[in-house]
C-alpha cells in the first residue's frame, strides 16, 4: 500500500505525515505524530479512551480514517490547556480524583470539555449522559463527577472575573 502525504491540523498546528489510506487517526496521532495521550482500550470502538475533539465535537479516533479528517480541527488531550497551564477540566480531573490510573482520563476530559463548551451548567443527568460513551474501570465515576463539577465552578469563576473586563 502506498503512503500518501496527509495534512492534519492538530492542536492548532498544521502537520504533514506520510501514511497509508488505512491509517486510523488514533495511530496517526500516536505513531506518526508522537501524541500518545490518546489511548486505545478496546478492539471494537466501545470504550472511549481514544476520544478526540474534531471541530469541537468528541469523536472516536479509533474509527476515524486519518486521511478523511484533513482540514478539520483536531484537538487531543495534549491540546487542552496552554503551555504550563491546565485547562479547568484538566485541573478538575487532577485535583478531585477523576484520574486514578489515568488511562481513561484523556477520553473523559475530551467528552467533558465538549460538554462544558456547549453547556456550562449541566445537570447531573446531562453529565452522566455526556460521559456515557466512556468507560472507566477505576473510579466508580463518583470522583469523575466531582472533577466535572470542579471544572464547572472554575469556569464560572473565570467567566465572572472576565465579564467586567469585556464590558
Amino acid at each position: 500500500m502506498n503512503k500518501e502525504l496527509t495534512h492534519l491540523r492538530v492542536n492548532g498546528e498544521e502537520r504533514e505525515i506520510a501514511i497509508t489510506p488505512n491509517r486510523l487517526l488514533l495511530d496517526a496521532l500516536r505513531e506518526d505524530l508522537g501524541l500518545t495521550g490518546s489511548k486505545r482500550g478496546c478492539d471494537d470502538s466501545s470504550c472511549g479512551c481514544c476520544a478526540v475533539l474534531i471541530d469541537g465535537t468528541p469523536m472516536l479516533s479509533c474509527v476515524a480514517l486519518a486521511a478523511s479528517y484533513e482540514g478539520r480541527e483536531i484537538t487531543t488531550v495534549e491540546g487542552l490547556g496552554g503551555p504550563g497551564e491546565l485547562d479547568p477540566v484538566q485541573e478538575g480531573y487532577a485535583e478531585m480524583g477523576g484520574a486514578q490510573c489515568g488511562y481513561c482520563t484523556p477520553g473523559f476530559m475530551i467528552a467533558t470539555k465538549a460538554l462544558l463548551d456547549r453547556n456550562p451548567d449541566p445537570t447531573m443527568d446531562e453529565i452522566r449522559e455526556a460521559l456515557s460513551g466512556n468507560l472507566c474501570r477505576c473510579t466508580g465515576y463518583m470522583q469523575i463527577y466531582e472533577s466535572v463539577k470542579y471544572a464547572i465552578e472554575k469556569l464560572r469563576a473565570k467567566s465572572a472575573t472576565q465579564a467586567p473586563a469585556t464590558r
Binding site: 500516536r30 505513531e31 501524541l35 500518545t36 495521550g37 490518546s38 489511548k39 486505545r40 482500550g41 478496546c42 478492539d43 471494537d44 466501545s46 470504550c47 479512551c49 487531543t76 488531550v77 495534549e78 487542552l80 490547556g81 491546565l86 484538566q90 485541573e91 480531573y93 487532577a94 485535583e95 478531585m96 480524583g97 484520574a99 486514578q100 490510573c101 489515568g102 488511562y103 481513561c104 482520563t105 484523556p106 476530559m109 452522566r128 449522559e129 460521559l131 456515557s132 460513551g133 466512556n134 468507560l135 472507566c136 474501570r137 477505576c138 473510579t139 466508580g140 465515576y141 463518583m142 470522583q143
Partner: protein, 784 residues
Amino acid sequence: MAKDTNGYNIIGKPMAMTDARAKVTGLGKYADDLSVPGMLIGKILHSPHAHARIRSIDTSQAEALAGVKVTATGEDARNPYGILPIGHDERAFALGKALYIGDNIAAVAATTPEVAERALDLIRVDYEQLPGWFDPEESMKASSNWINEERPQNIEKEYHHVFGDPEKGFGEADFIAEERYYAGEVNQAAMEPHATLAVWEPDNRLTVHSSTQVPFYLHRTIAAVCEMPMSQIRVIKPLIGGGFGGKSEIIPLEVAACVLAKKARKPVKITYTREEVFLAHRGRPITIVYLKVGLSRAGKITAVQARVIQDGGAYCGYGPVTVLYSGALLGAIYDIANVQYDGFRVLTNKPACGAMRGHGTVNVRFAFESILDQLSHQAGLDPLEVRRRNLLKAPCITANSLRVTSYGLPECIEKVFERSGWAEKKGNLPYGKGVGMACSHYVSGAANPIIRSNMPHTTVHIKIDRDAAVTVYTGASEIGQGSDTMQVQIAAEILGVSTDRIKLVAADTELTPIDLGSYSSRVTFMAGNACLNAAKDMRDQIVAAVARKFGCAADDFEVKDGRISHKSDAGKSLSFDEAVTVALEFHGALVARGTYAPPETARGGKFKGAGVGPSPAYSYSAQVAEVTVDPETGQVRVDKIVAAHDCGKALNPLTVEGQIEGSVYMGFGQALQEDMIWKDGRLMNPSLLEYRIPATKENPEIESIIVESIDPEGPFGAKEAGEGSLAATIPAIANAIFDAVGVRINSTPITPDKILDALREKQKLASGNGANAANKPVAAGGRL
C-alpha cells in the same frame, strides 16, 4: 470526608496524586506509549484448540516473509515458570500440548504490525485434538486425559480445614440453611491492555518496560526463562492503566517479548488486543460454593461448613492461594468458633484465573452474606442486627489463627445503619424496592511472602544531597491506586517539609530496592511502613547533626514546617536547607533506609495451608444497597450504595474514597452484568462491547464513608483500602433484591431472566401449595 488529622500536616488531608499532572496532560507514558528506534512489533500465535497435542510447528514460511525478523516457539525457551514456587507449569510457548483456546504457541517479531499479523497466518501447526475439560465439577472426576499429567484428576490443589467442632456447632443451631452458590467468571478489564517493550541493549543486557504490578517477580522470571543472570536484566514499570490483579503475575506477552528481543537482539514491543487481554485473563474464577451455616435463635452463628470448587483454567497461577484465601477469610470476619472448609482448585481447558481484586474472598463472601441474610429472615431477626451479634472482640485471634489487631467493623455497621436509613427502610419499602446489607474484610498484605524467605518484604531508600531535595527510592508499584503519593506524604510528614520537596523514584529494579509488588493490598501497610522507617532514619540523622551544632540533645528538637527547631529556644532553629548542609558536613552522605517485614505473631498457624490468610492487619467494610426491581422485566436498578470502610487511618482521604468507590463499582459490575460466557472453552464475549463493565448511567450512586480504627502497626494506623469493599457489594445487592421482590438469586451475575424465573417459580409454589408457600423464599439455584 474524615476531618480529624491528629495534628498531622499532610497525613489525613486530601491530596491530588503526584502523577496527576502527567496523566491529565497526556504526557505520562504507559507501556504502549513507549517506542525506541529500530523497535520491532511482536505478535503471538494462539492455539485455536482447547486441548491438543502439538505434533509440529513450521515457522519457515513466516520467516521468509519480508519484514519478519525472528520467530520463536517453545523450543526457544524451555524453562517453566509460574508465580508460585509450587506451580511452575507455564512456558513462554506451549511445549507438547496446547491447553486452552488462546494458549501461546509461537510468536513473530516484524517491522510492522501488519507484517507480523500476516506472518502468524503463515505459521503451520499440526495439532492432534484431545477432548477438553470445561466444567470444573466434571473435570475433577476425570480418570484419564488429564490436562497436566502431574495433576491427577485435574485437581491442582485441595485443602481440608476444620476449626473447632462444626458438628457440635450445627447441633446447637436452631436454624440451618444449606445452599449452592455459583459465581460466574469475571475479568479485571483494566482499561489499559497489557503491553511490554523489551529492549535488547548494545551491551547484551535486557531492559524491560512492562505493564506490571510485580516488576520484581517479572525480573526473576525473565532471568529464568531467558537464562540470563538477574544482574543483566532491568525491569522498569511505567505508568500503569489499572491492574486489579490482572497484571500481578507474569503475563505471557512479557516473556514472549523478552524471548523475541533476545533472539532478534533488537527491541521488541508487544501490545495485547482487548481479546488477548481476555485470553491471558487471570481473573476471578467460576466458583461453586456449597454452604451450610447454623444460627441460634439468639442470632449467633454456631457453625459453618463450606465446600468450594474453583474453576482455575489450564494453569496453576495463583490458584492454591485463591482457594486458601477463600477458606481463611470465609469465617474470620465474625466470631465463629466452628468452621469446616474443603476447597478444590480444579484445572479446565480455559485461560488461567488469577488474583483479581478481593482475591479469594469475593465469591465466598457472596455466598456467606447471602445465606446469613436468609438465616436471619428464617430466625425472624434483622440481618443487620445478626451481624452485630457475631462481632469479634479485637484484639484477638480467630478460630483459624488470624491475628486481629484492629476491628472497625462495628463502627462500619453503625455508620451504614444510620446513613442508609436502614431502620426506616428495611422491610418497609413498597414491593419492588428493597434494601440489603452485607459485610466484608480483607488483608493488608500477606504476612508470608510467596517465596518463603527471611528478607524484608519491602525496602525504601531516601537520599538527600546538596540541592536539599528528598529523593525516595521505592520498589512499590503505583498502578493508579496512589501508592507513590502515599509515600510522598509519609516522607514529607516525617521530614516536616512540603510534598513538593519530595521526589519519588519507583519500581525500577536497577534503581530502587525491592518491593514484592502491588497485590493483596500490601503497599500502604508494607511500603508505607518501610518509607516511614526510612524517613525517620533520615530525620534522625539530620536532627542529630543540628543538635550537635547547637550543642543540645537530639530530643530537644522538632521537625516542622520546613524547619528544625529547638522546642524551647527559638534562637536555635535552622531551615531545612541549612540543616541539610549541616548534616552533610557531619555525616558526609545523607542516605537512609527503611524496611518492613510482618511480625512473627502475624504469620498465622502451623497447619497445611496456614500460610495464606494471615496478614498484619485486616480492613473491614459494611454496605447497604438500595435497589428497585421491575418485577415484570426482572431488571434491577441499584439506586444507591452506602459503603463504610475501615482503613485504619486514611492517609489520603481522596484516594481512599476513590478506592472504596472503585471497589463498589466493580462489585456492582460482577453482581449484575459482568460475565465471561464460555462455550466449550471458547470465550463468547472477549470484548468491551460484550463483556459489560458498567458505564455511567446504570452505575449506582455510591456514598463512601471512611472509618478509622487506627491499627497499632500500620503506618499512622493505616490499613488496606483498595479491595476489601468489593466483596460486600455483591451480597448487599442480592439481599436487597430479596427485600424488594422476595426471591434469592444464588448465582452471579444476577440477570433479569434469573429474577423472572425465580419470581415465576415462587408464583407457581404459591398457587400450587396454598398461601403458606407464598411467603417462603425461593432460591434460584446456581447454574451449571
